[in-house]
């Protein structure tokens, strides 16, 4: 396919869902069938175009016609010219010396290509799933703003409208050729996230400690906004330092070297702050678990596959800048890698003690994103980008699976008319294996991928690559690498453990409540996307088997590494020559230690999980077997390390006090208005004093004048008592008189 067509396609990819968004709200919002068909059509068109662009960039035809040799040539070419599609329009005009126009446009390089492979596909699956999830075709629900279990969602079209806007924003972010357009997509996604977390805006819980959706949505938006305003500083600093926001213009070795390692580090950290918020990294991770208040497709799309991945994608996108920053100062690596590793470990510990089926997955998402960030902190570019994609597949699968479970449980709840038992609590489940076979199989596949089950699953290969990179760094003089390696190994062990716990609590044993007893498999809209995603949760990893796996040569070929690595290989190579501390992109030699480590932690975690939860599945009303051995630690983990309480005490409450009491009551009304009122009163008092002085001293002597004044004022009172028309007439007449005077006066005097 020729370049012009591909360029057009790239422009159109985000525009279809965007057009669909406007059409839904302006035209089709009363027609449900038309609405979902329209959004399907839009996203599928984007998917097709996205895949055409992605496969063209990947060199599928070269691979098919020329075999591995032909493809290697293609990649060789890509290394020198990673940006295969580039097109932009002038957007903001400026004078030449500050870079003339700020241009907006699209660009495709290998990294974009893999995102264009994953993002529209995951979104399409979730679009398909959502039709079933919202009970399309069933009797219509009547209560907008709250879940209508078992009935068609009353705000069905609104949901798809927001979803289309979200898809447009995410795809914009992916194809953006500059930081500002990326930020546009970034923020619009934030809005969609806000709207969709709070989709059931009217929902209220009896438990005052529970977070209703509307509060969760504000929490999500505000927490990420803390990060976004810092990121905005990063963007303006970037713009000022490079004189451009365009990635391919800024990320040349010369431009980077001219900016310098220290500045690059500062900019990278400012931008990274945005990722800490968007990808829910510690210390801004608290919003994501509460974001589970949104409908499950939202959790799957925004809070697993797409938006939170966008945070990591952004750091991967600016990797040359980060690499330079890493060379400039150790603290850059310490901050990025440290935050990633702490997040990965902390979130994994919390996930162990959660009972809500979606919240376990939420913490697991935070943890897995931490893996990627940790990888970036030690410069493992490809490993992070690899885990980004595989994670998106299996986490979307798991979330959709959990939605299917909840749907099944809700069906059970409808059946037995029980609206008090929480259908999301895993303690109320059990034995769903036979009730929901498709969901079970796909969920297990996703779970194994998350746990990193050796050799078969995608999660294994990507996690292994991160561990291998950390080990490599650790054994080559980077202490941070070793620390990260150890922390990630523990996190990976816990991951496997809580995954097994989740599978066992949900599917194994006997049903623990009537809800689970009467649960049944979800409709095809929901289960077919699960099957499709399961294929990628396994198969995608095979693209990234290391070249020298098990010391072999020529048997395996790491397509993913060579392809995505081509994005920055050349830049890093040149930059390495200019700035010595910058690491080049390397293909690691085979090392058995990290491989054994990742096999051991994955299988070990799964085994321990099975021994605790799977061998003797929990019976009804039995407590979690972890409570007794862990004791207070379990409470600590169950309460998520008390981050929410801490933030409420040190940030939220003081902000409210500062706004309402300090700034408004004390400063504005007290000090400023108080001073004004004092001034007004003293003026008035002085006037009174003068008046009294006049009365006492001058009074008697001027009776005659007073009488005259009284007479005059009587005359004028008749005018003053009039209505507004008379006032206005007087004003107009006076104004006219003045005007005439002003015009005539110069003539008379002159």
């Amino acid at each position: 396919m020729n370049e012009a067509t591909l360029t057009t396609f790239t422009w159109l990819i985000p525009l279809f869902p965007l057009a669909s968004f406007f059409l839904i709200f302006l035209v089709t919002r009363h027609n449900r069938t038309l609405t979902w068909m329209l959004s399907w059509a839009a996203i599928i068109t984007s998917l097709v175009m996205g895949w055409i662009v992605a496969f063209n960039t990947f060199g599928l035809s070269e691979l098919l016609s020329g075999g591995q040799k032909g493809w290697k040539e293609h990649v060789h070419h890509l290394v020198d010219h990673p940006v295969v599609i580039e097109s932009s329009v002038a957007w903001l005009p400026f004078r030449p010396e500050i870079g003339s126009w700020l241009r907006m446009g699209v660009a495709v390089d290998p990294l974009t290509a893999v995102m264009l492979f994953m993002v529209p596909f995951a979104i399409t699956m979730i679009f398909i799933y959502s039709v079933g999830y919202h009970n399309y075709g069933k009797p219509r629900g009547t209560k907008p703003g709250v879940p209508n279990h078992g009935k068609e969602e009353p705000m069905f079209t609104r949901f798809f409208g927001f979803f289309c806007l979200f898809a447009a924003a995410m795809l914009t972010l992916v194809v953006a050729d500059n930081l500002l357009l990326l930020f546009v997509g970034w923020e619009v996604m934030g809005l969609c996230s806000y709207l969709l977390i709070g989709f059931w805006y009217g929902r209220e819980y009896d438990d005052p400690k529970a977070t209703p959706p509307r509060k969760a949505s504000i929490k999500a938006f505000m927490t990420t906004r803390v990060a976004d305003v810092v990121m905005l500083m990063g963007i303006v600093y970037f713009y000022r330092a490079f004189g451009t926001l365009n990635f391919s213009e800024a990320f040349t070795a010369e431009a980077l070297a001219a900016v310098g390692a220290v500045t690059a580090g500062v900019i990278a950290l400012l931008l990274f702050a945005g990722t800490v918020g968007k990808s829910a990294q510690w210390p801004l991770h608290t919003w994501l678990p509460d974001a589970m208040e949104g409908p499950t497709p939202v959790s799957a799309m925004i809070h697993a596959a797409a938006m939170v991945s966008a945070g990591v994608y952004m750091v991967v996108r600016i990797f040359p800048l980060l690499a330079l920053g890493l060379a400039g100062s150790e603290s850059v690596g310490l901050i990025v890698g440290g935050i990633g590793a702490i997040t990965a470990l902390m979130a994994a510990t919390i996930a162990v003690a959660q009972n809500d089926v979606k919240r376990v997955l939420a913490y697991s998402t935070i943890s897995q994103l931490g893996f990627m960030i940790a990888a970036l902190g030690i410069g493992a570019y490809v490993a992070a980008a690899f885990h980004l994609i595989t994670h998106a597949f299996f986490k979307a699968l798991l979330f959709l699976g959990s939605g299917s479970i909840i749907h099944g449980m809700e069906h059970g709840a409808e059946h037995v008319h029980d609206h008090h038992t929480d259908p999301q609590d895993m303690m109320n489940m059990g034995g769903l294996k036979d009730k929901m076979p498709r969901t079970f199989i796909t969920f297990v596949i996703g779970g194994l991928a998350l746990a990193g089950f050796p050799f078969v699953t995608a999660g294994f290969w990507s996690k292994d690559e991160i561990l291998a990179d950390a080990w490599h760094q650790g054994t080559h003089g980077n202490t941070l690498g070793m620390i990260i390696f150890i922390m990630l190994c523990i996190a990976a062990f816990l991951t496997a453990f809580y995954t097994m716990r989740q599978i066992a609590l949900t599917f194994l044993g006997q049903p623990r409540t009537p809800l689970a007893e009467h649960a049944h498999e979800s409709n095809n809209y929901m289960t077919l996307p699960l099957l499709a995603l399961a294929v990628f949760a396994i198969g995608f990893g095979w693209l990234g088997i290391p070249d020298t796996f098990l010391g072999t040569e020529g048997v395996f070929y790491n397509y993913y590494h060579h392809f995505v690595g081509a994005t920055v290989e050349h830049t890093l190579h040149e930059l390495h020559a200019l700035v010595p501390g910058v690491h080049e992109l390397v293909t690691l030699e085979f090392d058995p230690v990290p491989l054994i480590a990742s096999i051991v932690v994955a299988l070990g975690g799964l085994t321990v999980g099975y021994l605790v939860y799977g061998r003797n599945p929990l019976k009804a009303n039995e407590p979690d077997p972890l409570i007794a051995p862990l004791g207070p630690l379990y409470t600590f983990l169950k309460n998520k390390w008390y981050w929410d309480e801490l933030y409420d005490t040190i940030f939220v409450q003081p902000t409210i006090w500062f706004s309402e009491t300090f700034v408004y009551e004390w400063v504005d009304k007290g000090v400023i208005d108080g001073t004004l009122h004092l001034a007004a009163r003293s003026t008035y008092a002085m006037g009174q004093y003068v008046k009294r002085f006049e009365e006492r001293v001058i009074n008697d002597g001027v009776d005659a004048i007073k009488d005259a004044v009284l007479w005059l004022s009587k005359e004028f009172r008749s005018i003053q008592a009039g209505n507004i028309q008379e006032y206005a007439l007087m004003s107009v007449l006076t104004a006219a008189a003045f005007t005439i005077l002003l015009i005539l006066l110069p003539r008379i005097i002159g």
Binding site: F25, A90, W91, L92, P93, F94, R95, I98, P144, G145, L180, F183, V184, W186, E187, V188, Y194, L195, G198, Y201, G202, E204, R214, I218, F221, M222, R225, V229, V230, L232, M233, I235, V236, Y237, Y239, R240, T655, I656, F658, S659, E660, T661, F662, V663, Y664, V667, D668, K669, I672, D673, I724, Q725, A728, S731, V732, L742, I743, L745, P746, G750
Partner: protein, 515 residues
């Protein structure tokens, strides 16, 4: 030719005044006629300014100086002349004025009390504002400045809320206090230089040499400092810059909906425009030295305005404080301009172009979004007769379209990228990053609070279970007239967000010439 270019401008300025008179002379009893006529007549200046816009965009974008210029002898004794003209900074402001006036009149179609008078005052106000933006002579400038005050005073005083006496008085006295210094300074400057012409003064006054003024014998450094500060305080009150802002929440809260729309939409810009048109060009040295004061006050406005807005439970007061927060960005941008302009080819020129572009852009954008927000508050208030956010809640379920529109406008106000507000804020942040990185970092706290108060407004109004069935019952859908008010604004916000260059290119060509 009757419609020669200068005539176009003169017509645009004085037509609304004539229209005010026409409406005023209508019979008292036909209120509908007064409303309709006022609306149609207010479309004429819109057409005129649009024509000017097209001519300007095609012919004069790169031409230096002022276009559509008229210089007529007017008061030769004191050296004042009738001098008006526009450039790429004043033209967008005039466009804003002529867009917002018809929409505000449309928003006032529910005014039943003294309708005719209301409409006349509005048209009169339009004349004053347009004249202000076009004035190139200090006396004319001052007359229009004062003249804009009077109609607004009456709009608040007569059609305002319960506490309108206090609010209108505060508004009037505050502004008058600022005007006093302005008047004295203008007189001293004009009389000592022998001219009130702004363009001439930009040369004569700026480059005046010697220790004392020729006739009066006043020390030049003293009078320059005095005049500078009087100008700054007068305009700072109008913007308003913290801590001169406390008149604004009261005035807004008490003003009728359309009054708030114009007050926030255009009248606040009078202050910011004064800085760009007068303070910095006439006092480049002082501006350069004291730019940091402006920057600090701008930052304080952003931050404290944001916090104060978040602390409100009256919806309209919340939106009123949001103006302080947003206009703070304008002031920050102006500070960068001040710092670079006086230095004559400083290292900050590039930043200053960005920041000044951003400031003018932000003025325009805030005009649209603040007017829209005040209008939406009015939509709720008209139906519910309360603005207490504590009583609101769950309205999205009863008024889905109104809710959607409120969210759209809130997002524009929040500065969501893709809508108009972001463009200005981004440019100002970018421009200010060079000279004032530390202040930008502090200002980001204010930007964070922008999110907080906007979400508070949406959340308290639309979300949650319905708190008060009675209120929810009264929340009827928006009327056609109301849709006619809000949609042009929303379309403008979206187009400016996606494709800002139709406006920014005009601004930029003038701004670039300043440095």
């Amino acid at each position: 030719m009757i419609f020669s270019e200068p005539t176009l401008l003169i017509l645009a300025i004085f037509f609304p005044a004539a229209a005010a008179l026409i409406v005023f002379l209508l019979p008292d009893d036909d209120k509908t006629l007064a409303k309709r006529l006022a609306f149609y007549l207010s479309l004429v200046p819109l057409g005129l300014v649009l024509a000017m816009w097209v001519i300007y965009a095609n012919n004069y974008r790169l031409a230096p100086g002022f276009q559509f210029e008229t210089i007529a002898e007017w008061f030769p004794l004191i050296g004042a002349s009738f001098h008006i003209g526009v450039d790429g900074i004043s033209l967008p402001m005039m466009l804003l004025t002529v867009i917002l006036t018809p929409l505000s009149i449309l928003a006032s179609f529910n005014i039943e009390d003294k309708t005719k008078m209301f409409m006349s005052l509005f048209l009169l106000l339009e004349s004053a504002m347009l004249g202000y933006f076009a004035a190139l002579d200090l006396v004319i400038f001052f007359i229009f400045w004062e003249f804009s005050l009077v109609p607004m005073y009456f709009l608040i005083k007569i059609w305002g809320g319960a506490d309108r006496e206090y609010a209108s008085f505060k508004f009037f006295v505050y502004t008058m206090a600022g005007s006093l210094g302005l008047l004295i300074s203008i007189q001293v400057m004009g009389l000592s230089m022998g001219t009130f012409d702004i363009v001439e003064l930009m040369d004569k006054w700026v480059n005046v040499t010697g220790a004392v003024l020729p006739e009066s014998g006043i020390s030049i450094p003293f009078i320059k400092a005095f005049a500078f500060w009087s100008f700054v305080i007068a305009f700072a009150i109008k913007v308003p810059v913290w801590p001169f802002h406390t008149w604004l929440p009261d005035a807004h809260t008490q003003a009728p909906t359309a009054g708030s729309m114009i007050l926030a939409g255009v009248l606040l810009k009078l202050g910011a425009y004064g800085f760009i048109r007068l303070v910095i060009p006439l006092f480049p040295e002082q501006s350069h030295q004291l730019a940091w004061v402006l920057a600090v006050l701008g930052t304080l406005s952003i931050v404290l305005g944001g916090f104060a807005a978040f602390g409100q439970w009256d919806f309209k007061r919340l939106v009123a404080y949001s103006s302080i927060n947003h206009m703070g960005f304008v002031v920050l941008g102006i500070a960068v301009m001040a710092r670079a302009y006086g230095a004559n080819h400083s290292v900050w020129d590039g930043d200053a172009i960005m920041a000044t572009n951003g400031a003018v852009m932000q003025m325009f954008n805030h005009g649209l979004s603040a007017a829209a927000m005040f209008f939406m508050v009015g939509v709720f208030y008209d139906r519910l007769h309360t603005r207490d956010l504590r009583k609101f809640g769950g309205f999205w379920a009863v008024a889905p379209i109104t809710g959607g529109i409120l969210i759209f406008n809130s997002m524009a106000s929040l500065g969501l990228p893709g809508l108009n507000g972001f463009v200005g804020e981004f440019l100002i942040t970018r421009g200010a990053w060079g000279p004032y990185a530390g202040l930008v970092a502090i200002a980001m706290i204010g930007l964070l609070m922008t999110g907080a108060y906007i979400l508070k407004g949406i959340g308290q109004t639309l979300h949650g279970p319905i708190k008060d069935q009675e209120l929810a019952h009264h929340l009827t859908p928006m009327t056609t007239v109301e849709h006619l008010v809000i949609w042009p604004l929303m379309i403008l916000m979206l187009t400016l967000g996606l494709w800002p260059q139709w406006l920014l290119a005009i601004i930029n060509d003038t701004v670039s010439r300043l440095f």
